[in-house]
């Protein structure tokens, strides 16, 4: 089964990575920022997996699997934090969180 070679995958990964980056940098809702981070991590996963296929070794796949778990962990903590913030009746807007600056 021959499909597109690794370069195609990588281009998709690159596009996803920048989409994710743009999301993190542009969105004010912490929820969407978290989602964008997931996209970034997944783009890396895509790259890892395609490289694993390209090199024919499993390290990339294992790595990607670990990344999934890590991504899940980040989400858990992130959501917990968002819940905590929401519980304090604070605006869910990363731009409003700027008591600390200067």
């Amino acid at each position: 089964m021959q499909g597109p070679d690794v370069v195609w995958y990588l281009v998709v990964a690159a596009l996803l990575f920048s989409i994710g980056t743009a999301g993190v940098l542009l969105r004010r809702s912490p929820l969407i920022v978290l989602l964008s981070l997931e996209i970034m991590l997944n783009s890396a996963n895509l790259a890892l997996i395609s490289f694993a296929r390209h090199h024919g070794n499993h390290d990339g796949q294992i790595f990607a699997l670990a990344v999934m778990a890590v991504a899940a962990s980040e989400v858990v903590v992130g959501l917990g934090l968002i819940v905590a913030i929401a519980r304090r009746r604070l605006d869910l807007d990363v731009d409003r969180l700027r008591m600390l600056r200067g």
């Binding site: 940098l25 542009l26 990363v94 700027r98 200067g102």
Partner: protein
């Protein structure tokens, strides 16, 4: 002999220290007596040294004694050493002898001043310093004494420190002398680097091998010091102002001893001056100019002490003239007699001032002859000696200098003429003063002080402590010149011989007897002429005093020297200070600090502002950082 020398040096120092350390523990009188005794002890030491030296043959009359090494580096050494030779012993005798008399006089003069202790401590310090100067066995120690006498002079001129003029005068004296110190120091540097030593003998010997430029530099430096210390033009302006000090101070420091140190220096360093004839001529020329200028300025002064001060300048001018021409013995001779009669004049003037409760303006004086008859006589003797009327001391010494000038070739003869003119001026200004102060009817001021206080509380002609020294000096002023009579006997010259004339290889001025007599006739004649004019104008008042506004003003302003120095040195210095402060210190030094501070703070503020608190901007900076890093890495590889 050596012990005598050390005793002579240290007794006054001990006196000064004792008075200082005792402080309030001693009464004011005690302090005065401690000082007097210490100075007379010094005189005793000097006499002992004198006798000791007399007992030696001519060639052995040069003894150096060292206490310890004063300053040393591995290859350069200066000892704390005294030189006892006829020249220094002469000076020791003059300094301690005249000094003792004047300190004794001060007991009466300063009686009642609240800070008498300080006065006497300073006086002792001065005598010590002056003795250090004349006994020093090397140039550096001489410079030490040189500086210390300047210091003592400063302290004593400014003794009445509440008076702004006195303080200013003291500072002026010190600073001008510091200038002289500096030029001397430069001369010593040349000696150190060229000869490796500052000992008199060794450096004189070493100086023989130096280039003419080097010798000239050394001589010039020494001359700078001498000129400053002896108030010769152009560094003379401090001396008249120094009259702000108590009168005995003027007598001791600014007439008898310290101001003549310049002459002593030239005589002491004569081997160097002989190697630098042009500088010697310069010294003689400066002396001549000074004696004329001072004589002229003295004509218009109205302060009794200032008149005498200018006369001092003038007389030292003679000594410079003589020393510059190589007549060292004659200069020293005049130095000695001048010490007697000038001290006498000052002390007599002090009696007058003391009597008139510190009034010094001669325009308010007159007719003191009747009030102070003994003072009158003393003053008259002093004045006659100053003018050089035989057989008083000044006659012999001044004429010997003029005769030497006459014998010194063309340049000497020009100076000879100047000296003669000076004699005329001397007669004129001396007796102008004398006639105004003592003759005529008592002025209101004099009358007031004579009637009300006669025999009252120690005014009159003063207590014995004051009159005895005056009497002694009167006698000395009369007989002081008899130790050397041209063509008859020369014990003084022979005494100084090993120093002044003992070196065969040096040509020395030795006037013939004829020249001596011609000079005497001319000088006495001119002196008498001066006195006659003075009589006409001020004594008998048969003629009005001729006036020339411009000349008068010029003389009253002392030829504008003060103004010139103000313009050339003081004002630029002030401007420089202001320029430094406003142009460098504040804008550059201070400004650079504030500038850097402000700049850093500004940048820091900007960096702080970049930390906006927007979470997204933090991520953005990371993203940009990564982007830049990647670009750099893949392009540079």
């Amino acid at each position: 002999m050596i012990a005598g020398a050390w005793l002579c040096l240290l007794a006054p120092l001990a006196g000064a220290l004792t008075i200082t350390l005792l402080g309030q523990a001693s009464s004011r009188r005690t302090a005065a007596w401690i000082s007097t005794v210490s100075v007379f002890t010094a005189f005793g030491g000097a006499v002992a040294a004198f006798i000791g030296l007399l007992g030696q043959g001519h060639e052995e009359r040069e003894v150096v004694t060292s206490a310890w090494t004063w300053l040393a580096t591995p290859n350069f050494q200066v000892d704390l050493s005294l030189l006892v030779d006829p020249l220094s012993v002469t000076m020791m005798l003059i300094v301690s002898g005249v000094g003792g008399l004047i300190v004794l006089y001060s007991i009466g003069y300063m009686d009642g001043d609240p800070e008498e202790r300080r006065y006497f401590a300073y006086m002792s310090l001065f005598v010590f310093s002056m003795l250090l100067l004349v006994q020093a066995g090397n140039f550096l120690l001489l410079l030490a004494g040189w500086g210390l006498v300047g210091l003592a002079s400063y302290l004593l001129i400014g003794f009445w420190h509440e008076r702004a003029e006195a303080v200013a005068a003291a500072k002026k004296a010190f600073v001008m002398n510091a200038f002289g110190d500096a030029t001397m120091a430069l001369a010593f540097f040349v000696l150190i680097w060229q000869t490796g030593t500052l000992d008199f003998q060794a450096s004189f010997e070493g100086a023989g091998g130096l280039s003419q430029t080097a010798v000239n530099l050394v001589a010039l430096g020494l001359l700078g010091g001498a000129v400053a210390k002896s108030a010769q033009i152009p560094l003379h302006t401090w001396l008249p102002d120094a009259m702000e000090g108590p009168t005995p101070v003027s007598a001791l420091i600014h007439a008898a001893t310290m101001v003549t140190a310049g002459v002593y220096l030239i005589v002491r360093a004569h081997p160097i001056f002989e190697l630098a004839p042009s500088i010697s001529d310069l010294a003689a020329g400066l002396g001549a100019i000074t004696l004329l200028v001072a004589g002229l300025v003295a004509l218009v002064q109205t302060d009794i002490k200032r008149v005498i001060a200018y006369s001092t300048m003038s007389q030292i001018g003679y000594m410079f003239l003589g020393a510059g021409l190589g007549a060292y013995g004659n200069s020293m001779f005049h130095l000695m007699t001048h010490a007697f009669f000038k001290a006498l004049l000052f002390l007599a003037a002090g009696l007058v001032i003391h009597h008139l409760a510190n009034e010094q303006d001669i325009r308010r004086m007159g007719g003191l002859r009747r009030v102070l008859p003994r003072t009158y006589i003393a003053f008259l003797v002093g004045s006659l000696a100053l003018v050089g009327i035989p057989p008083l001391s000044g006659f012999f010494s001044k004429d010997s200098i003029l005769a030497s000038a006459l014998a010194s070739g063309g340049y000497g003869q020009i100076l000879f003429v100047a000296g003669l003119v000076g004699t005329l001026l001397t007669g004129l200004y001396t007796f102008r003063l004398f006639f105004i102060v003592f003759l005529g009817e008592p002025s209101p001021l004099v009358a007031e002080h004579s009637s009300g206080h006669a025999g009252g509380h120690g005014h009159g002609e003063g207590p014995w402590t004051m009159t005895v020294p005056v009497a002694a000096l009167t006698v000395l002023a009369v007989i002081g010149g008899w130790v050397q009579i041209a063509g008859v006997w020369h014990p003084f010259g022979e005494w100084l011989d090993p120093i002044a004339v003992g070196r065969e290889h040096l040509a020395l001025v030795e006037p013939s007897v004829v020249q001596d007599y011609v000079t005497s006739a001319l000088a006495v004649g001119l002196g008498l002429l001066g006195m006659l004019i003075a009589w006409t104008l001020y004594g008998a008042r048969t003629r009005p005093v001729p006036r020339n506004a411009a000349l008068q003003e010029t003389l009253e302003h002392k030829l504008w020297f003060d103004e010139l120095y103000d313009l050339v040195f003081y004002r630029p210095a002030v401007l420089l200070t202001r320029g430094f402060r406003r142009g460098v210190e504040q804008p550059l030094i201070g400004g650079s600090i504030s500038g850097v501070t402000l700049g850093t703070r500004g940048t820091a503020g900007a960096v702080g502002d970049a930390q906006t608190g927007y979470l997204r901007s933090y991520a953005l900076v990371i993203a940009l950082g990564v982007a830049v890093l990647v670009v750099v890495f893949i392009t540079v590889q």
